[in-house]
Symmetry: C2
Subunit: 369 residues, 2 copies
Amino acid sequence: MRIAQVAPLAEAVPPKLYGGTERVVSWLTEELVAQGHEVTLFASGDSVTSAHLVPCNPCSLRLSGIRDHTASHLVMLDKVRARADAFDVIHFHVDLLQHVLFRDIAHKCLTTLHGRLDWPDFMPVFRTFREMPLVSISNSQRLPMPPDVSWLATVHHGLPSTVCPFDARGGDYLAFLGRISPEKRPDRAIEIAKRAGVPLKIAAKVDKADQEYFEVIRPLLDHPLVEFVGEIDESAKCDFLGHARALLFPINWPEPFGLVMIEAMSAGTPVIAWRNGSVPEVIADGVSGRVVESVDEAVAAVETVDAINRSAVRAHFEQHFTVCRMVAGYLAAYKLLLNRSATPSPVKLTSPTYPANALSRSAELRGRR
Amino acid sequence: MRIAQVAPLAEAVPPKLYGGTERVVSWLTEELVAQGHEVTLFASGDSVTSAHLVPCNPCSLRLSGIRDHTASHLVMLDKVRARADAFDVIHFHVDLLQHVLFRDIAHKCLTTLHGRLDWPDFMPVFRTFREMPLVSISNSQRLPMPPDVSWLATVHHGLPSTVCPFDARGGDYLAFLGRISPEKRPDRAIEIAKRAGVPLKIAAKVDKADQEYFEVIRPLLDHPLVEFVGEIDESAKCDFLGHARALLFPINWPEPFGLVMIEAMSAGTPVIAWRNGSVPEVIADGVSGRVVESVDEAVAAVETVDAINRSAVRAHFEQHFTVCRMVAGYLAAYKLLLNRSATPSPVKLTSPTYPANALSRSAELRGRR
């Protein structure tokens, strides 16, 4: 299949530092190439890929100090559009601009929504361009969306089996990994560890926006059971997760997916997570971790978590969250899309449109020659 | 002429509170209607106009608490595009998204750039979509732009003669009006007033982003010559400007236009302004104010400003900065655009394009019928 992958330009693919979306796009792209597909990656020029790279910006926007990404994304989408005929499927990992620019060729386009959808800012586009095929990264992510948008599939993220290798032994501490922010609830993690009497290691970066919140958390870190190890890089992360007794994921927001959960599961480390967002879809309760709803339940889960077999956690990961499983999900979605468009149906559009009309007329014209 | 005005959705047209761009769009729209043109205004639904209003959002985005305006603007531009055939000219007052969406009908589109252009974020669009006709609000605003974009005209802002009525007497204080921010240099205004021994009234709002800077300025306000009157509304503004001896405009950034200068001039109040951005284009040195480059020069200007005749200041305003003069400038630009497109020239596009091709083919098809 001739596939275009259209990545955000905020980070390189894969990212030099952070960037969940760009990591997922990289894994997806490399596996599609490995399976013999002809893949073109539209991304920041400092990306590294075995696909055909179309550089859309010399260097990732974040590292270039560019804060408003709209102009750069418009230019990228113009490049994609100019080459649209060369692809069977165009797969977007950006949020908004393609909905109006690619509406007339919606039949070969799909967009994976990588972010939270429970805020009003983007809704005008989703309400207006309902014919654009969408993929959610969890079923729960769909809840705030208008009722009749064009969902094609839910495809959970997956990662290569070798990224976080299985660690059969595990360790004695609880792990907390992520940003120090009110949605991630590091305070809950600390309370759970103290009440369970188990050491807690917190590996977390503190964004500028969360500096004020960090001052609330800082006094809680001063406890013999709590160790704040600060920011850690990708390679240290797998050891950090693999050597833990369990990962604590005590979020209080509707996490659309939560990559760290499957990274821990890949290493064999069970996850104790709050019932919120994607959590009940990602954690098989009692198999790969525990899904809890209160600090009491979390403390009880810490005390019994050793009963969860680390090999079973890894097996759950291998069954559901490898990159191969993710690629199979996307290939099924691509085929569904292509089969749909092979079945002619009356064109249904929400308002009089321009390129759609224009292109269909131009297709008629070509057809007549 | 059948004219579309496309306003930002951040504020109503005219704005309930702040919003320089929306005020200018309102004045332009009302005057075009008064002159007998058929005007359609695409704007926030809480706008008030004598043109035909196409509401693109129930309520202005700022009052709705919507921070990311991209989705709402995409939906608005889709509405404009669906009605494009009904207009001779489409006049955009938004920055970016129309460049890719209206490229194939660039011949009837123009965009007034209302903001500063000396930052890199928007440049990818201006470098890529060079055929899109642009209007600058001062010549100096153009300086940071790529060399070969398609400038159609510079049209200085204008305001209705009655908005800030002429005040023949003036008053005894210096006025500073605007935001308390480092680019506006209220500290310079205070220094000038103290050294000249003349009272200074500061009418200014303090944005959240400038709170820290306000703490630097606050101690300077504690001086018998300095009065901080805080935020004032539109109606109080004209009295505030009209009763002043002079307006101080000691900016240290490339102001693209600076509406407050012509509001003061409308009231007959001369302006003492730093040579920066649009200032030398707006102030006729010695006629409607003084253009200075140092605090020494500004203090000297305060001491001699009474020599400037307030009637001459108003006359300068009436000659150059009324809404009628602005509308004449835009009508000339519209005609230039339409004359250009009436003269057929080989289609020149920077990259293979889609709607352009598609629409020209579809035009051929229609032509053959």
